[in-house]
């Protein structure tokens, strides 16, 4: 049976997955702290029908042989942790990370990591993210606090209405050897995996960690035009692969009509 039918099917599969990834990126164009994904493709194994260098006669060898590939497969869908743009919100509890690092929050019993810095206060005065999960290590803001100031190095200071300092804590960031290997949990959360390595703790603005920007949020790091271009390229590649199937089908039809 014709190999090309299956080869083209792998190509169509790959482009379909590519489209799913692009759709997910575009759907999250307005998600705070969202990091885009990219499908990485690789070629499948090759069948060496005649290995290169095989002897064909007394002193003749085939210089190149016949190698027929079996198509394509997805190596990985990789998160790309480039910096997103900053959007000014003016909200004093909105924090954007400029550079590397994640906030850690406690979600149920699990420690998870996020770059979405939309913080609020819960009923007990603790800093929580938009899902109500507490920032780790926990930060509590005194009830009398009116102004909260976060400097780029992560020092959070709370002042009352007279400008008296009530409390001051250092916020901590976390990073991984390979952030692209983090497990996406949805809702902007990531969990460490075998591939990401363990979380490393650090102060903002030191040892390669990013700085904090108060009153700003990090937008999704996607570029709508780029995603659109990927979509068009993917669609055309899909079409080209479907034409291969049609051609292979036509060849089979012709072969079937030899003895009719």
């Amino acid at each position: 049976m014709m190999r090309s039918l299956w080869t083209a099917a792998t190509g169509m599969d790959a482009q379909q997955l590519n489209m799913d990834v692009v759709a997910h990126n575009l759907a999250n164009a307005n998600t705070t702290g969202f990091k885009k994904s990219r499908a990485n493709f690789e070629d499948l194994m090759y069948q060496n029908i005649i290995p290169p260098g095989a002897e064909t006669g007394a002193s003749a060898t085939i210089p190149t042989g016949i190698q027929i590939g079996m198509g394509v497969k997805t190596a990985s869908v990789q998160k790309i942790f480039t910096q997103g743009n900053f959007t000014e919100t003016g909200n004093q509890l909105d924090l954007a990370i400029e550079g590397k690092g994640f906030f850690k929050v406690l979600r149920g019993a699990d420690e998870v990591y996020t770059r979405a810095g939309t913080f609020k206060l819960d009923s007990e005065g603790y800093l929580v993210d938009s899902e109500g999960n507490r920032l780790q290590p926990e930060v509590s803001i005194p009830r009398e606090a009116v102004t909260i100031n976060v400097d780029p190095r992560g020092t959070l200071s709370a002042f009352d209405q007279n400008g008296t300092l009530l409390a001051s804590v250092n916020l901590t960031l976390y990073d991984f050897a390979n952030p692209a290997g983090l497990l996406s949990l949805g809702k902007n959360y990531f969990a460490p995996s075998e591939a990401s390595g363990d979380a490393v703790e650090g102060q903002p603005g030191t040892e390669g960690f990013g700085t904090l920007l108060q009153g700003f949020l990090e937008s999704a790091n996607i570029n709508v035009v780029e995603e659109m271009v990927n979509m068009i390229a993917g669609q055309r590649a899909y079409e080209a692969n479907s034409k291969v199937i049609r051609t292979a089908d036509e060849m089979l039809r012709i072969a079937n009509s030899v003895a009719s």
Binding site: S4, E42, A75, A180, N241, V258
Partner: protein
């Protein structure tokens, strides 16, 4: 002259194989650094394949972990089956802080495996890898002497057809960070080859059919008298 049905059968089979090769190229339209497998016919109807090493289109991704080679050369990759070569520069850092391919094979610098602390990776135009301000290593971009043929291993990797060939340092190249090289075939050319393949296949079938009809006539008419 008696048309040989066997020649046309061989011809048709070769065209079928040629379509397989074209299908594999088109399936890899989105594979970074993919090298086209070309076909040619030698000694009348003997199909041969070769790996085309022309430059593919380089497009910006702005991802600092992506590198593309402009010009000649390949990245050296260490795999468990030995050293392999690739033009696919979609790199990542693994949990041990090594610079690796998406398959997890380490990419080699002039000093071996490249270890980065993982803060700010910067790659210079000659392949220098900076981790922050420190020069860690230089990507070992290698080329092969003229006449050396490369064949595909699986998973974006290439190897010399003759395992005893040694790579030499590449000369005419620049490394671009934040960009990836695409597959190096033209869709138009592949589509045209595909149509040609189909029509030659059809012609072979016509020859088979004529020969079949001829035999039928011979048997029927000579048999009557």
């Amino acid at each position: 002259m008696k048309l040989s049905p066997f020649t046309s059968v061989v011809g048709a089979i070769q065209q079928e194989k040629r379509l397989d090769v074209i299908a594999n190229n088109l399936a890899n339209a989105a594979t970074p650094g993919y090298r086209k497998v070309g076909t040619r016919f030698e000694n009348f109807m003997e199909l041969q394949t070769y790996t085309q090493s022309t430059q593919g289109p380089v497009h910006r991704t702005e991802n600092p972990m992506d590198v593309a080679i402009n010009g000649e050369g390949y990245f050296r990759i260490q795999t468990d089956r030995g050293e392999r070569y690739t033009r696919a520069g979609n790199l990542t850092v693994d949990a041990q802080g090594r610079l690796v391919t998406p398959q997890g094979w380490p990419i080699l610098g002039q000093g071996g495996i490249i270890q980065v602390e993982g803060s700010q990776l910067r790659i210079g135009s000659e392949g220098q890898v900076y981790d922050g301000e420190n020069l860690v290593d230089t990507l070992d971009v290698v080329a092969f002497p003229p006449g050396v043929r490369l064949v595909h291993d699986e998973r974006n990797l290439l190897m010399p057809a003759d395992p005893n060939t040694f790579a030499v340092p590449a000369r005419n190249f620049t490394v671009e960070q934040g960009a990836l090289e695409g597959a190096n075939f033209s869709a138009v050319q592949e589509m045209t080859s595909m149509i040609e393949t189909l029509r030659i296949f059809e012609a072979c079938q016509k020859v088979m059919k004529m020969s079949y009809e001829e035999d039928k006539q011979v048997i029927n008419q000579l048999g009557k008298s």
